[in-house]
Symmetry: C2
């Protein structure tokens, strides 16, 4: 399901195949939390901006409209009319960051919905059941995501439990895939490495989960409080223990610079809400740096967001028009800006893949970093 076409140092150029298609890696997944990309992007727009993998959130869809509703409607692909690959997270991150009154036991977590406060129990089996109902191509393991830094003893106990949960996830998804009526019986499970900012715990945990021989492995629990330097160090520490022949996913990361550094450290999959969120606030990525479209200097600027960009927005609209839409609080401002920023990210990945194909990734990374610094 995953083939490595080429490597350059630790960086990898690969192809991942799943029920709804083939993914060229390294890849950035475009986040559609509630089965829609924020900013009024449609499934057609996702195609237009070069999205390869859409990512939706188990916690949100379980609460609304309900995963059984989506199952009864034929699964997430049919529901949102996106027939490419979909990854669903496990709900773990949101349970630990959004929900109120959570209580963790060996079985799982009891928490209160952030929408109406009703109490919900979610453990490995529930997370797998929900993701099976959603019918994503890639299901993520149910884990505890701890904010950094956290006490060693707590992180140790937590990642031991997350390991036990992973064993249960694997068994449950197997059962669900083999049961009649599965929306997407070819759904695969990615395990998630935890261990906070402690290299020894990270490595121990990675060694343990590698033994489960899952179709892919993620590094979770980063970009949640630690410094960028620490994040890179943890990736470097754990990477040698990740199975070489399996895809690797760095969850919730990050800036273009973070992604380049992640690729250089052997990561294949990325996702982050930041480019879309920045776009909704008028902060746009360009190949010459970032710009804030609300700035008065763009009032009469007829040029596109980025002269070097051939996205559907840059081919048609001016900075002046986009600035006006932001000032006038027209929703179209957000839609066009999100389209541009996600296109930029998808294009960044395409350039990274080309560089890996040509054996020039080191050069590409150095040029990008020299030109734009590590700030973005």
């Amino acid at each position: 399901m995953f083939s490595i076409l080429k490597t350059e140092g630790t960086a990898r150029r690969g192809v991942f195949t799943c029920p709804h298609g083939t993914v060229q890696t390294p890849v950035f997944m475009n986040v559609g939390t509630q089965a829609a990309i924020k900013g009024a992007l449609s499934a057609e727009d996702l195609q237009a901006i070069g999205c390869q993998v859409e990512l939706s959130n188990t916690y949100h869809l379980h609460l609304r409209p309900g995963d059984t509703v989506i199952r009864d409607l034929g699964g997430l692909h049919r529901f949102m009319t996106w027939d490419g690959p979909i990854l669903t997270d496990s709900g773990g991150f949101q349970v630990f960051s959004l929900a109120d009154l959570r209580k963790i036991k060996e079985e799982g977590v009891t928490f209160a919905s952030h929408i109406d406060g009703h109490r919900i129990f979610m453990g490995p089996e529930q997370s797998m059941q929900i993701q099976s109902n959603l019918g994503s191509d890639i299901a993520m393991a149910f884990d505890e995501c701890i904010e950094n830094p956290a006490p060693y003893a707590y992180v140790k106990a937590s990642c031991e439990r997350t390991l036990r949960w992973l064993v249960r996830c694997k068994a449950e998804l197997k059962r669900l895939n083999e049961a009649p009526g599965a929306v997407n019986p070819g759904q695969v499970l990615f395990g998630i490495n935890q261990g906070g900012t402690y290299p020894d715990l990270r490595i121990w945990h990675m060694e343990q989960i590698a033994q489960l021989d899952l179709p892919g492995y993620a590094i979770g629990g980063l970009a949640v409080g630690e410094s960028t330097q620490t994040m890179y160090e943890i990736i470097e520490a754990v990477e040698p223990y990740m199975p070489k022949e399996k895809p690797r996913y760095l969850m919730g990361v990050g800036t273009p610079s973070n992604i380049l550094e992640g690729v250089a450290r052997g990561v294949d999959f990325f996702d982050c809400v930041m480019p879309a969120r920045n776009a909704r606030h008028g902060k746009l990525f360009t190949w010459g740096g970032t710009l804030n479209l609300k700035n008065a200097r763009y009032e009469r600027d007829e040029s596109p967001i980025d002269e070097q960009c051939d996205c559907p927005v840059c081919r048609r609209y001016s900075r002046a028009y986009l600035r006006h839409l932001f000032k006038a609080e027209e929703m179209l401002a957000m839609r066009l800006s999100v389209m541009h920023n996600l296109y930029f990210y998808n294009q960044l990945m395409s350039k990274i893949r080309s560089a890996l194909d040509n054996g020039t990734f080191a050069e590409f990374r150095a040029q990008y970093t020299e030109k734009l610094g590590q700030k973005i």
Copy 2:
């Protein structure tokens, strides 16, 4: 510039030509107040929903981003990348309905911006200058729009002044079109009939403005407080005095039923914010009546908004998905709903035109009214 292809009773099937294209009438103009259709519709979307004429608002664009900004950027067509016909209103309606502290004199109106309270003066010359800067195809006369009912003496004095303003509008637009540097020197002026709910004032005013031999005439000051029946009576009273060979525009009207009745009474152009506003609240038009997408009954409804509709939304998305987007407060809910409702309106006009072409408008009107009543 306007040819009548066919008539059926008082109803007319025509073609109107203006600098940015040919308009098949009767037509519904799609409202993009601030140079964008509310609900994140792009210029591409406008094409996809069969829009013939886009309508923007002088008052809003004068305040933000400023009509001189738009002029310097090549006019409204280039600014919003819509190369079809555009009509701009005169600002009069908004000055009298949105702005604070307005003070009317013979010269024009002084008022406070609803955005930042700064004082602005607008009279016929200013309105023409702004619309000339915007470069629309059709400029509307600067008039006073009075809420109904209003005292006879006030309405009489007001429509006498509106007549004097129209003479000034005509002279000023001629001057601006002939001056070097006009964004769109082929811009034409439509006069606006006023007179409240008083047939004698309406007729007197219409007779006066008809003598100015303008390229088109609107009926203004309706759907602003009077009953639907009164509105129809006023149209019937004034219609015989409107030049037969000029297009007629019923401003700010209305429901599908209002439009059918307007066409039956000899109207060629319509506009209304209602279909887009209803859409943003989940109220959708179908050929079987209206539906509210937020209703729980659509939770698992896989059918499109309207089985009989071939709009880009009905061809792809289910009621269940749209309902979910509304409940989850995703912007995409609004965009898809606005697209559907405006398509429905544009399609209604297309059906009306076909019926007129075939001499079956009376039948079409009767069938529609019998099936759906006059409520929608």
